[in-house]
C-alpha cells in the first residue's frame, strides 16, 4: 500500500455521509425559509420533529423483527405486520375484558406460561430444565389466579401480550416456515404472503370486525403543551413513552445479541447457517428465538401504536400498511443489520412527517413515500444504508 492510496477518499464510506449531510442542509435551509419568509412558527417544526421521532420509533420496533428473520433465513416475513396487529389486539383484550371466566383465563394463561417458558429458555438454554419448567408451571398458576380476579392495567397487558405474541411468532415459524427449510425462496415468500392473508382474516374472525378504541386508564396519554419561541407545541405525553420504551427495548436486544451465547449463536447462524450447525448450534432453536424476539418487539409496537393513536383499525387492515412501511424501513436501513433497521425506521418516520411539513400539499402522498423510497433504494443501493452487498455472483 503506497502513501498515495491511503490519501484517496473511500467513496463507499464517504458517499452516505455526504448524502446525509446534504439532505440535512437542504432541510435546514427550507425550514429557515419557511419560518422567516412564509411565517411558519418554529413550534410547528418542533411538533413535527417529535411526531417523527414517535412514528420512527414505532417503525423501528417492527423493522427489527423483519431484519432479524431475514438475516438468518433470508425470508421476508410478510406476516410480521399481522403479528404486530395480533399483539395490539391481545393487549386490548387483556386490559378490557379481564377478569376472565375460567376457560378463557386457562387458555390465555397457558399461552403466557409458554411464553415465560421460552423466555426462561433463552437464559437456561434447554426447555426441559427444572427452572424453565417450574417457571412455566408457576406462572401458569399465578396467571390463572390473576386473570380471574383482577382487571389488568396496560403495563401487565403489554408484558403478557409480548409473551403471547412471542409464542404466536414461534408457532408461525413452526407451522409455516420450518417445513419449508430447504425450499426455494420463492416458495417461502409465497407461504409468507399466504400466512399474512390467513392472519388478517383470522384476526377478523377471532377479534372483531370493527374499529376498536384503545384507551387504557393511564396518565401517559394526557395532552400537554409547551412554548417554543412565540408558538405552542401541542402533543401528548405518550411520545416520551414511545421513544423511551423503544430505546430501552433496542438496547436490551442489542446487548442480548452481542453479549450472550444465544446472541452469538444468532449472529453465527446469520453469517452461515450450515457451518453454524456443524459447530453444534441448534439452528432451529435459534430461528425460533429470533421469531420470539421479533414478535415481542412487534407486540410492544402494537401496544404503543394503540396508545399513540387511541384506536385500532379493523384487524384485516391494521397491520398491512405499517408492516409494509416497516419492511421498507428495514430495507432502506440495510436488511440483515440491526442498527440498519433502527436507522431506516427513524428515517422513514421523519420522511413521512417532516417532508409533509416542509412541502405543503404533499400530505396525500404520505403513503407513497415509503414505497417510492423502497423501490429507489432497491434500484440504486440494494444493500441499504448500512448493509452488506447482496448482488448475485455467478
Amino acid at each position: 500500500m503506497s502513501k498515495l492510496e491511503s490519501k484517496r477518499l473511500d467513496l463507499r464510506i464517504f458517499a452516505p455521509w455526504a448524502v446525509g449531510l446534504g439532505v440535512l442542509a437542504v432541510v435546514l435551509v427550507r425550514i429557515a425559509y419557511l419560518v422567516n419568509v412564509e411565517g411558519f412558527s418554529v413550534a410547528f417544526f418542533v411538533g413535527a420533529f417529535l411526531q417523527s421521532a414517535q412514528l420512527g420509533s414505532l417503525y423501528a420496533l417492527i423493522a427489527l423483527g423483519y431484519t432479524m428473520v431475514y438475516g438468518i433465513i433470508r425470508l421476508i416475513n410478510f406476516a410480521h405486520g399481522e403479528v404486530f396487529m395480533i399483539g395490539a389486539f391481545i393487549a386490548y383484550f387483556l386490559f378490557t375484558r379481564t377478569p376472565y371466566s375460567l376457560p378463557w383465563a386457562v387458555v390465555t394463561a397457558l399461552l403466557t406460561g409458554l411464553g415465560v417458558m421460552y423466555v426462561l429458555n433463552l437464559w437456561r438454554g434447554r426447555l426441559n430444565d427444572p427452572v424453565v419448567l417450574a417457571g412455566g408451571a408457576g406462572s401458569f398458576g399465578l396467571l390463572v389466579w390473576l386473570m380471574t380476579t383482577v382487571q389488568l392495567g396496560w403495563i401487565p397487558a403489554l408484558i403478557f401480550s409480548m409473551l403471547i405474541t412471542g409464542v404466536v411468532g414461534i408457532g408461525l415459524d413452526r407451522i409455516a416456515y420450518r417445513p419449508l427449510r430447504g425450499a426455494p425462496r420463492i416458495s417461502l415468500l409465497i407461504t409468507a404472503i399466504a400466512m399474512s392473508f390467513f392472519l388478517q382474516n383470522f384476526g377478523v374472525l377471532a377479534f372483531t370486525r370493527n374499529v376498536t378504541p384503545f384507551r387504557p386508564a393511564t396518565s401517559w396519554t394526557q395532552a400537554m403543551q409547551f412554548q417554543v419561541g412565540d408558538g405552542t407545541v401541542f402533543m401528548s405525553r405518550v411520545i416520551f413513552l414511545v421513544v423511551i420504551l423503544t430505546v430501552v427495548l433496542v438496547m436490551i436486544l442489542t446487548q442480548f445479541v452481542s453479549r450472550t451465547r444465544l446472541g452469538k449463536a444468532m449472529r453465527a447462524s446469520a453469517q452461515d447457517a450450515e457451518v453454524a450447525q456443524m459447530m453444534g448450534i441448534n439452528v432451529n432453536r435459534v430461528i425460533a428465538t429470533t421469531f420470539l424476539l421479533g414478535s415481542m418487539l412487534a407486540a410492544a409496537a402494537g401496544v404503543l401504536w394503540g396508545l399513540t393513536y387511541g384506536t385500532l383499525s379493523q384487524p384485516a387492515v391494521m397491520g398491512v400498511l405499517p408492516g409494509i412501511k416497516a419492511f421498507a424501513a428495514a430495507v432502506i436501513g440495510g436488511i440483515g443489520s440491526l442498527p440498519g433497521a433502527v436507522v431506516g425506521g427513524v428515517l422513514l418516520g421523519f420522511m413521512e412527517n417532516f417532508v409533509t411539513a416542509l412541502i405543503p400539499g404533499t400530505t396525500q402522498y404520505k403513503d407513497t413515500f415509503a414505497f417510492a423510497l423502497l423501490v429507489l433504494v432497491l434500484l440504486v443501493k440494494p444493500s441499504g444504508i448500512i448493509g452488506e452487498d447482496l448482488s448475485e455472483k455467478v
Binding site: A316, I324, E392
Partner: protein
Amino acid sequence: MKDEHRIRNLALTVGGLGLLAVALLLVDQGTSTKLRQVAALFAIWGVATISLNLINGVTGILSLGHHGFMLLGGYTTALLILPNEGRARISASARSMMNDFTLGLSVENWARSLGLDALAEPEMLWVRFIVALVIGGLVAAVFGLLVVAPSLRLRGDYLAIVTFGFGEIIRLLASTDLLAPFTNGALGFSGVPSLMGRSVWWTFAILVITVFVMARLKFSSYGRALQAIREDEIAAQAMGINLAYHKALAFSLSAFFAGIAGGLYVSWLASARLDSFLFFLTFFFLVAVSVGGTGSVTGTLFGTALVVGVLQYGDPLEQSYPLGTWLAMGGVAVALGGIGTYLYRRSRHLRPSGMRVGAAVVLLGIAIATFGVLAPSYGLLDTPFRAFGLRRIGLAVLLVLIMVARPEGMFGRAEFSWAWLLRERRDQPTDTERAQDAWLSNPELREQLDDPEPAAHSLDEEGGR
C-alpha cells in the same frame, strides 16, 4: 409437433370449442343468473391469471403487482366507455375531481371528431368497448415496461417486493391529486356498461383468445427463451438470450392482458372503484396459479375455477352455526388432516411415516367431532357463531399446504394436449426415464463409479419412479 396429426388436432380443437359453445349456450339461456355471473367472472379472472402465469410460471419471476395493471386497464376502459349519463352525473356532483378535459375522453367523442358518426351510435357500443379495452390494455402494457428495468438488477424476492411496490404506488397515486382528474379519486365511476362484462359469450371469447395466444407463445421460441430464463438466468444469458428484450416482452404482454381483464372486470362490476383493485386480487390470482400449476395454462384455469368457486359459492361456510357444529367441522378437518398427512408422508417415503402420531390425530379429531355433534343436545355449546372470512382463510391455508406438499401446483408445468387425451405416447419413456437411460448407457459416466454394478442394478429395479 408431429405434422401428421396437425389437421386432426385442429379438428379436435374446433370440436372442443364447439362443445364449449354448447355449454355456454346452456349457461346463458339457463335460469340461474348467478351461474352466468360466476361463469363470466371465471373467464375474466382466467384472463388475468393466465397473464400472471406468463410471468410467474413461464418466466419464473414472482410478480405481485398485478392488481396495479388491472387497475390501470380497468379505469382507462371505464373512462373511455362511460356513457354520457354517467359523465353528466359526475360533472354535476360537487365532490367530483374530474375536469372537462378528462370527462371529454371517450371513444364516442373521438369517433365523432374523426367523422365516424356511425360508430357513436348506441348499437355500436360493442365496437367502442373493444377499442376501449385495447387502449386500456396498451396503457397497462406501457406501465408493465416500467418493471423491466428493476427486473434486470434484482433477484427473486426483492423483485417481488418491487412489483408489489409498483402495484401499491399505482393504487395510492390513483387517489391523489395527480391522477384524480382521471380516476375521480376515491369516488370512482359508476354506471359502466355491464353488457359485455357480464356476458358469458364476450368474456369466454376473450378468454379463448388469451389461451390461444399464451399457448402459442409458450410453445414458440420466445416461450422457450422465457423458460430458459426461469431455469437459469445466467446460463440463458450465456446462450445468447437477450434478457432485457425477453423480460420486456413477458411483462408488457402480461400487463396488456391484465389491463384487458381489468377492463372486463370493471364492466362486470358495472363500476370502477379503487377498493376493487386491492392486493387481495393479486393474492387470489397467486393462489390460482400456485395451486393449479405454475407454468401451465391448463392448471391455471383449474386453479381459477377453484378460487372463483370457493369465493362465490362458499357462502354456506360463513353462515351462523352453533358452536357445536363448528367444533364438529373442526374435528372432521383435524381427522382428515391426520389421514392426509399420513398418506402424503407414505407417498413420499418419508420416515417416520407418522403412523402412530397420525392415528392419534385422527382419533382426536373423531373425538372432537363426536363431542361437537353430541354437545348441543346436552345444552352445551349452542351459542351461534359466525365465521367471517372463512373462505379467504381456507384459500390461504390451501396455498400454504400446496407450498409444503407440492410447490409446483396440481398440474406442475404439464399442459393439456390431444395427444395426452388420446393416450398416444404412453409407450414412450418419460423424461426421467430417458435421463436415467442416458446415464446408464453412457460408458464414460459409468466408469467413474467405484462400484458400478450394485448401483446400476438398484437403479434398474426402481424403474421410472
